[in-house]
């Protein structure tokens, strides 16, 4: 394997180099070096950036900014990011979490990318050299994205409003059957006033369960009242089939796990 690696001290310079054909951005290496090891000949050169701001975590009030090079391990151990720790810990084993980055996770194809599912539920903003885009827009266009992601910003959820679940067959670490993140606001009587539900492995990239979100509005979190939401949870999904699970299986178990998460 020969891969020309170029190291830059600023994102701006690296962005120029990234425009060359066959060039990929090297974050933690868990996607792009893996691809090269697997024989992906489309990767011929790599660029990386050592700018310290890319590894910075800033939490001010609820406003949070994670640099693109922040690792899953750094999130999992950060005292102010406890709400996100379950999603960060869902990624890989300890060594992978020391390497895998927030920026890389945005590009991880299903069945990977569990942390991005949490970011999608939080309606995060992806910051690139070209500007800021809502995460949903970013995910839709990520295959053609050539601007280096520098960070991601979002409002840190209150612990009681945010829930995350990764379903895997192997414990404690396994590849996702699916993952779910929910952000629910509820009135004093417990009825849902706003709902965001993000799903992993239910398409080739994280997606929203919009029909279920709409059906949850005005419901209390009881088995009877969430039933209509669970019935439409699979609307618009197009799950992957891989050695972990078939698309059919993923669609079958999605309402079961969403129900458990909502009633937890």
């Amino acid at each position: 394997m020969t891969l020309a690696l170029q190291t830059f001290s600023t994102v701006k310079d690296a962005n120029m180099a990234l425009q060359a054909a066959g060039t990929r951005y090297l974050g933690g290496g868990t996607l792009v070096v893996r691809a090269a090891n697997e024989g992906d000949v489309s990767v011929s050169s790599l660029v990386r950036v050592t700018e310290p701001s890319l590894s910075a975590i800033a939490v001010s009030g609820g406003e949070t900014r994670l640099g693109a090079s922040v690792t899953m391990a750094a999130i999992a151990r950060h005292p102010e990011l406890a709400a996100l720790a379950p999603a960060a810990r869902a990624v890989g084993g300890p060594a992978i979490r020391n390497m895998a980055t927030v920026g890389g996770n945005l590009f991880a194809p299903a069945p990977y990318g569990d942390f991005t599912v949490a970011m999608l539920a939080l309606d995060a903003i992806v910051v690139t050299e070209d500007g800021q885009v809502p995460i949903q827009t970013f995910l839709a266009g990520r295959d053609a994205s050539r601007a280096i992601v520098t960070g991601i910003t979002f409002v840190l959820p209150r612990a009681e409003s945010f829930r995350f679940l990764k379903v895997a067959r192997v414990k404690p670490k396994g590849v996702s059957v699916l993952s779910i993140a929910t952000l629910l606001q509820r009135a004093a009587d417990g009825t849902v006033t706003s709902a965001r539900i993000a799903l992993g492995c239910m398409a080739d990239r994280p997606m929203r369960a919009r029909a279920a979100e709409r059906a949850l509005l005005g419901c209390r979190l009881t088995a009877e009242e969430i039933a209509p939401a669970l019935a439409v949870a699979g609307e618009g999904t197009s799950p992957i089939t891989d050695p972990i699970a078939s698309a059919w299986y993923r669609n079958e178990v999605l309402p079961v796990h969403l129900g458990r998460l909502l009633l937890a």
Partner: protein
């Protein structure tokens, strides 16, 4: 392809080598420097056999490019024994029959060492979590978990 220089500390010794750009740390360690304790299993970040400790953190050497390790402190299982005396983890793995074919063992021991470096008396759950990125197809894991717990106890007794 031009060679690039890499220089790091391996198990306390300064190492310098010229490698092809894009060479993985695993390849540099095994085929250039001659430390064959990290194993190349899946080369995909799945099996953990290539685990090494870089600047105190567990990393996968198959997914780490050697060039990114300039100036780093790298630890592998081959550097654990001191003056011919096995490290408590190595001793415990032998005594507990926690190694059968042995291919996963260096990675397992590195993962366990990072755990014990930070957590002197880990719970069984913490051991399982620490080893969760390392696959063993022989032992069924139980002897490995017991070996790590035994080594932790031995460390605690020595420290007392």
């Amino acid at each position: 392809m031009a060679k690039v220089p890499v220089q790091f500390t391996l198990n306390g010794s300064e190492k310098a080598e010229f490698v092809d750009s894009g060479t993985t740390l695993l390849h540099a360690l095994r085929d250039k420097i001659g430390d064959t304790s990290p194993k190349g299993g899946c080369h995909q970040g799945t099996c953990g056999a290539c685990s090494v400790i870089i600047d105190g953190e567990l990393r996968l050497s198959c997914l780490t490019l050697a060039e990114t390790c300039n100036g780093a402190d790298i630890r592998t299982t081959s550097g654990l024994a001191e003056a011919g005396v096995l490290h408590p983890l190595q001793r415990a793995f032998l005594d507990a029959f926690a190694t059968q074919c042995g291919f996963c063992t260096p990675g397992m021991i590195m993962a366990a060492k990072v755990l014990l470096d930070h957590t002197a008396n880990p719970s069984r759950e913490e051991v399982v979590e620490a080893l969760s990125g390392n696959i063993c197809r022989c032992t069924g894991y139980e002897p490995i978990i017991q070996a790590v717990l035994t080594a932790a106890r031995a460390n605690s007794q020595n420290a007392a």
